[in-house]
């Protein structure tokens, strides 16, 4: 896959590599632009940066991770979390939901509940977790359980920014629910310093179709 990287502040990189013990004290940013095969920005892509030196991984500050259920949809559609995170599934609809996942990364079930009655779910294994509702078959959502705390999700402009990255060598990869191929195929080696590094990723998206919200009533209309 054709890709290119623009490095800003590369002047500092060589210095940082020579002074590795100091690198953790310097924080940089990675800005990623994700486009599809038509050149259009890709929303809801998860961009991940894994340091080559795993010692650079710092435990992230605790955050409250939430996947809402609003108007019988999961919001956000894609939620990236760091492995070991708890995720809350508040139901803001006036009907009850029954959230479940069959995914190997996390099999779980939150039987019928309303409001904030469901306990948070621990996502302790990296991977993709597909969410569904046993009552409303069209509801679908994704939790991406990341093996690195350095990740961000693209917005509608296809841009994602990963901040506070310790300087060092990183393998950057991208995941999207509709991507063709594997995350591994998107891997790129980047060197990050104390400044902003930008990268662009090209994803090939396959056409996907979700269960429609409305269905017919076949068999009811025979005269």
């Amino acid at each position: 896959m054709k890709s290119f990287t623009t490095r800003v502040g590369s002047y500092f990189v060589a210095t940082l590599l020579l002074a590795a013990p100091l690198s953790a004290s310097l924080a940089g940013e990675l800005h990623a632009l994700v486009r599809d095969q038509k050149g259009q920005p890709v929303v809801d892509a998860v961009v991940l940066a894994m340091p080559t030196d795993r010692r650079l991984i710092e435990a992230p500050k605790p955050t409250r991770n939430i996947v809402d259920q609003i108007n019988k949809e999961f919001l956000p559609y894609v939620k990236p979390v760091y492995v070991g995170s708890l995720v809350h599934f508040p139901n803001k609809d006036n009907v009850r939901h029954h959230v479940y996942s069959f995914s190997p990364a996390k099999k779980f079930e939150l039987p019928l509940y309303e409001g904030a009655a469901a306990p948070p779910v621990l996502f302790d294994k990296p991977g993709v977790v597909v969410l569904g509702c046993n009552i409303h078959d069209w509801m679908i959502g994704y939790i991406y359980v990341a093996d690195t705390p350095y990740f961000a999700k693209t917005g509608s402009d296809g841009l994602a920014a990963i901040r506070a990255l310790p300087a060092g060598e990183y393998v950057v990869r991208v995941w999207h629910p509709d991507m063709e191929g594997t995350e591994q195929a998107t891997m790129k080696q980047l060197t990050l310093g104390a400044d902003v590094v930008t990268t662009e990723q090209l994803l090939s998206l396959k056409p996907t179709f979700h269960i429609p919200r409305q269905s017919g009533s076949h068999g009811a209309g025979y005269h």
Binding site: V95, R96, H98, Y100, F102, E109, P111, L112, E114, G132, N134, I135, D137, W138, F209, H210, I211, P212, R213, Q214, S215, G216, H218, G219, G221, Y222, H223
Partner: protein, 288 residues
């Protein structure tokens, strides 16, 4: 009737279980064209268009594992262009229990349902009760395809009329029938749904025609029918119908859709009273 026995039990279960009921309101309005409204042989065929509308209120209670019990009431009306004697109002109730075999969108399901409606026609010899029991099963195969099978038993008890012919019952508009329906749906797009199905129905049919000794000999009942003309009789015959139906549904928004259904069927009835018909229906459906 297992379904009749199950409904009170299931309703009691709904009351005692930690489930939550939800109300929904549905409305339908549309036009229907019937190429052989009187179920007649070639010489006596009469067609007509009708406006039909239905409103229904449904309370659905969900249980763990995706099972649900729904029940409610409905009001429906039909208004015919050429034969106003068939204009009618139906008031009724229904209940159904749906069981999901497993978890998730692709789990197969079973449903048992019952409905009863009181029918009131302008031509009141047709007035009566229509009872239906349905047993259905289905499965979503993938995001686009789903299949279902439905067995239906229906019984119509109309007001018994005086004998039009000596020795032949006048209860022409009562009857019962069984129908097996197999159907599939295909979501061609986010708001575009295609459907196809076939059905076989065996039981009583009401065929309208002129005085015919051969048909009369095969009829279970016969009555004068003022709707289609003074020289027409309604014959209740045992018949078997087979048909195909195709549908197209277009979403107009999150709560409404427009459907076009086309149905073709042939019926082989006692007394060699065979006929064919086509029905086209254009319906707006709203859910609130």
């Amino acid at each position: 009737m297992i379904a009749f026995a199950l409904i009170p039990f299931l309703m009691a279960l709904a009351v005692t279980s930690p489930a939550q009921a939800q109300w929904s309101f549905d409305a339908q309005a549309g036009l229907r064209q019937d190429s052989n409204l009187d179920n007649a042989r070639a010489d006596d065929i009469l067609s007509d268009n009708a406006f039909a509308a239905t409103v229904a209120a449904t309370q659905t209670t969900f249980f763990d594992r995706g099972d649900s019990l729904s029940w409610g009431g409905l009001a429906a009306t039909e208004s015919y262009a050429r034969f106003p004697g068939l204009n009618n109002l139906a008031l009724g109730g229904f209940a159904a229990f749906r069981h999901k075999i497993g978890l998730g969108a692709y789990a197969p399901w079973l449903r048992a349902g019952w409905s009863s409606s009181r029918l009131s026609y302008v031509n009141n010899v047709r007035d009566g009760w229509l009872h239906r029991a349905d047993f259905a099963a289905g499965k979503r195969l993938d995001e686009r395809w789903s299949v279902s099978a439905n067995y239906r038993f229906e019984a119509h008890s109309a007001t018994t009329q005086a004998q039009a012919e000596p020795g032949v019952s006048g209860d022409a508009f009562s009857g019962h029938a069984q129908t097996l329906i197999l159907g599939t749906e295909y979501a061609a797009g986010a708001g575009l749904l295609l459907s196809a199905g076939g059905f076989a129905r065996h039981g009583d049919v009401v065929s309208i025609g002129r005085d015919d000794d051969r048909v009369l000999a095969a009829a279970k009942a016969a009555a004068n029918d003022g709707v289609f003309g003074a020289d027409r009789y309604a014959y209740r015959l045992v018949g078997t119908s087979c048909g195909l139906a195709f549908g197209l549904g277009v979403a107009l928004g999150p709560r409404s859709r427009l459907t076009l259904d086309v149905q073709r069927q042939v019926t082989h009835a006692a007394g060699d009273n065979n006929y064919a018909k086509g029905i086209e229906t254009l319906t707006w459906i709203g859910s609130f």
